[in-house]
Amino acid sequence: MRKLVATLVFIALVFVAHRYLMPDDDGQIRDRLAALARAATVARELSPLEVAARANEAQGYVTSTAVIELKPLEGAARKIEGREGLRLAIAAAALRFHLLTVSFLDVKTEISPDRRSATAYATARARSEAEKWEEVIELKFSLEKENGVWLISRAENHESLERR
């Protein structure tokens, strides 16, 4: 019995270690999106250097020609183009919000058969406790694999409920 339990624990550990050390495409995309969310989490109290570091990190998750079009439920649509546009958007958010927390509650990926491109659907939550504001929106990411790394080429709103 003990041998069986030990074997099962060992197999589970190997499985977890394999998933952690050598994630598949799905795992890599999830890791990238989680890292992007962390980089987009900013606060007014962060030093300019920290904000710049996070904005620079976020730049590394998108292609040079990436387009991010976001339409919050209330408020004007926002279009961010390229890496520089993303850097400026994160810097602006750091100035505007006392603390802006971004997280992805769920992520679902669809990887193309050639494993060079992918689509990811995410339930994103942006929250600012000081401003008593929270919004959950659905996002659709288009990703491309460049030099073995998944980069976001497009991000836009996704609507599960179809009005028309």
Partner: protein, 145 residues
Amino acid sequence: MKLLAVRAGALAIAAFLFFTFVLLPVKTEDGDYTVVNRLAYLRGESPRRGDVVAIELAAGHSAVFLKRIVGMPGERFEIRKGRTLINGALLDEPYVKSRLETWTIDELTLGDDEYYVIGDDRGQPLEHHRLGRARRDKVLGKALR
């Protein structure tokens, strides 16, 4: 001690299964929490008009839309001056908390597995409200309020 551990493990597994397949705690789009009865429509029962249901999002169900069913499969649905019309007839909606007369959605016909869902608070402009067709397989269950 060993028996206690086995019982605790069994209890934890039972609780996990219960809160996954029977009563699913979910977070709504507004940041609130509710519980969804996943067995409500399993025994051949279909969602009914007026039911408040949880709609699964594209990425999963950690957060859901909590909406009321107003249009049933195959029906013609329309909103004119804030009022809902089903197959051309005005729908009585006592649950609506507030409404704007500016809401207009041209007539559309729902598919065989589609429901039209809307929230009860219709006091915001239409573009600030999430509403629309939801496929049957996206209805997670009936919300317990």
